[in-house]
Homo-oligomer: 342 residues x 2
DNA sequence: GTTAGCACTCACCTCCTTTGAGTGCTAAGT
DNA sequence: ACTTAGCACTCAAAGGAGGTGAGTGCTAAC
């Protein structure tokens, strides 16, 4: 069966109406609301064809049609017209993102919040792995008899700290001394490189000084390795509750519980891949059963021309794709700009 | 009307049954399940009295009775028998809380998680204000031409860091120099004291060196002041969805949205006061309209014999008070112990 | 003071009917 | 050959009627 223009127009009208109202759409509604110049009977015939092609379906015999997952797919790929954002909204985004933010992570977190606010869906933003970043500073500060604080500063402005408990007391001077050696040797290297054996070399240099450095090095190594990981921000999770398709607590509970697990979020975003450009995953294209009634729109943001993270919105399959895509698109742009300026 | 022992026994039976089943409890059920040695008719008479006294109420004419807010109050104050925790659970709590945690905040956060897991309700934990803690270290690290990282280490193991953007470039040596001066002057002082003019004194000392210190000091002051605040952890928010009384999305949405606001959480916990001991707020005793179907059980935890924070569980008014109270009680004890050892 | 007995209430369930939106098919119109 | 009007048909949803049962309050007897 061939997909002529009239079928396309009918499919588009049906999807737009369904997205707007949430009710199954009948032939009469389409004939009346969207002037296609044909009667409802004709539209009925065409709809029968569209159903045969798998693009729309009937929830039950005497109801109108709703788009199938493939219908949404076709719409997103071929029919959707991007709805340009108003200058006002663009300005709003840019104003907020350029408002004196000096830490990369704060900027990214803000983007997540903005994304969920603007779309009224749930936002996911993956913060880049720190593995490739270079150390600007590594510093140990004495805290107590046998406690020190390890502070790691990366060249992207990211700061991590961790308290370490040593199994033996240590003098303040020694802490400063070790700190200095660490700094001299590790400054400018990436975390990845620090991990790969370099710490051992360093150990040799310091071993001449103190016999218990071995243990300190181990702890530092663990701390560094543990920090070399992605992080995901989730925003507007409760927006899901606004959606009529999730008005039943039992239905939405599993989804919300799923979203509370960080590993899942990483999976979901990682599934979108690293290629640049906007991607849309519809219904069961997503990796989790609980998300079969959801769609995910993602894009990647960059720093120095390289993809460093992914961001996206998660909503019901019946989501406002055109609006959401525009927002994701512009926010990605604004975030990339923001990062560049940093 | 006087509250004789039989009335008490009936009220207790009714509340226990209602908490267990969630259904209104009739006279026959009480007569059968809880052997009080009297017939259902007698119980009916007593229940009429209890209703007159405002302790129980009927959802509608031909239904059983449910406890009123005052009924719960009376139960919690006079009738409730604390259910001792099994040694197993106690050990579980203590094991988890003593598992190599060296940062106060991590310990507190873990307590929150534990609390929601064990009770299946929502947990709130307020982290103490940092104002009274002493500075162990204050350190500036150069990051970039005109960016520095401020790291503040407190004597309780808490570490805060913040990136500062200076409106002018600064040399690494100067950063270290300032850092040293700050350290020498502020070490051992509480944040409160740092704020109160001391920074200005310090400014005089440094002003002889560099003219732009003024601005640095301002930034540091802002950073310190902003950090002197309470923080609240929320755990198991979605547990609310498990409760049959919140099976309607519209009912639970407002509550969940309320709980997402940190200010609200602070209010709610602050409302419980600072006196030591377990407190129970039932239904509309809570400060927010959205919580009129919830009860909150709180307790305070201590360090060095002084109250430093509050922790609690929030559940439906029909919550398992005896179990929840026991868990809150023991967890408070375990957390206080854990903090002491730190 | 307690209890058995009884009339009464009312939410809830089930069954039935009505309603209306929507369909598919057919035959007539262009 | 496509389009359309007309019609019979389907089925979810809404509304109503009747039955059920848990529970109550009252009264009279123990």
């Amino acid at each position: 069966m061939k997909m002529d223009e009239r079928k396309q127009r009918i499919l588009q009208a049906l999807i737009l109406d369904y997205i707007a109202t949430g009710d199954p759409v009948g032939s009469r509604t389409i004939a009346k609301k969207y002037k296609l110049g044909v009667s409802s009977a004709t539209i009925r015939n065409e709809m029968a064809d569209l159903e045969e092609m798998g693009l729309i379906e009937q929830p039950h015999t005497s109801a109108g049609r709703i788009p199938s997952q493939f219908g949404y797919r076709y719409y997103v790929d071929c029919l959707m017209e991007k709805k340009p954002l108003s200058e006002q909204v663009k300005k709003y985004i840019q104003d907020i993102l350029s408002d004196k933010i000096s830490e990369m992570e704060a900027l990214i977190q803000l983007s997540s919040k903005l994304l969920s606010q603007l779309t009224n869906y749930t936002s996911l933003v993956m913060v880049p792995s720190l593995g490739k970043n270079k150390l600007t500073h590594i510093q140990l500060l004495p805290l107590d008899n046998n406690k020190v604080v390890l502070v790691v500063v990366l060249d992207n402005g990211h700061v991590e700290h961790r308290s370490l408990e040593l199994p033996f007391p240590i003098r303040d001077e020694d802490v400063y001394y070790i700190s200095q050696i660490l700094n001299n040797n590790l400054q400018g290297l990436s975390i990845e490189k620090c991990k790969s054996g370099l710490l051992k070399t360093l150990y040799n240099e310091l071993a001449q000084q103190k016999h218990f450095l071995n243990e300190i090095m181990e702890i530092i190594e663990t701390a560094l390795v543990a920090k070399d990981d992605h992080k995901v921000y989730l925003g507007g999770m409760l927006n899901m509750l606004e959606q009529p398709e999730f008005k039943d607590v039992d239905k939405v509970k599993d989804l919300l519980e799923l979203l509370e697990e960080e590993k899942v979020l990483k999976d979901v975003l990682a599934g979108a891949g690293q290629e640049t450009g906007i991607k849309v995953k519809i219904g069961s294209e997503n990796p989790y059963e609980e998300m079969k009634n959801c769609s995910l729109i993602t894009a990647t943001y960059e720093l120095d021309g390289k993809v460093i993270g992914t961001l996206g919105v998660l909503g019901p399959t019946r989501m406002e794709y055109s609006k959401a895509v525009s927002i994701v698109e512009f926010l990605t742009y604004a975030l990339t700009e923001g990062l560049r300026k940093l």
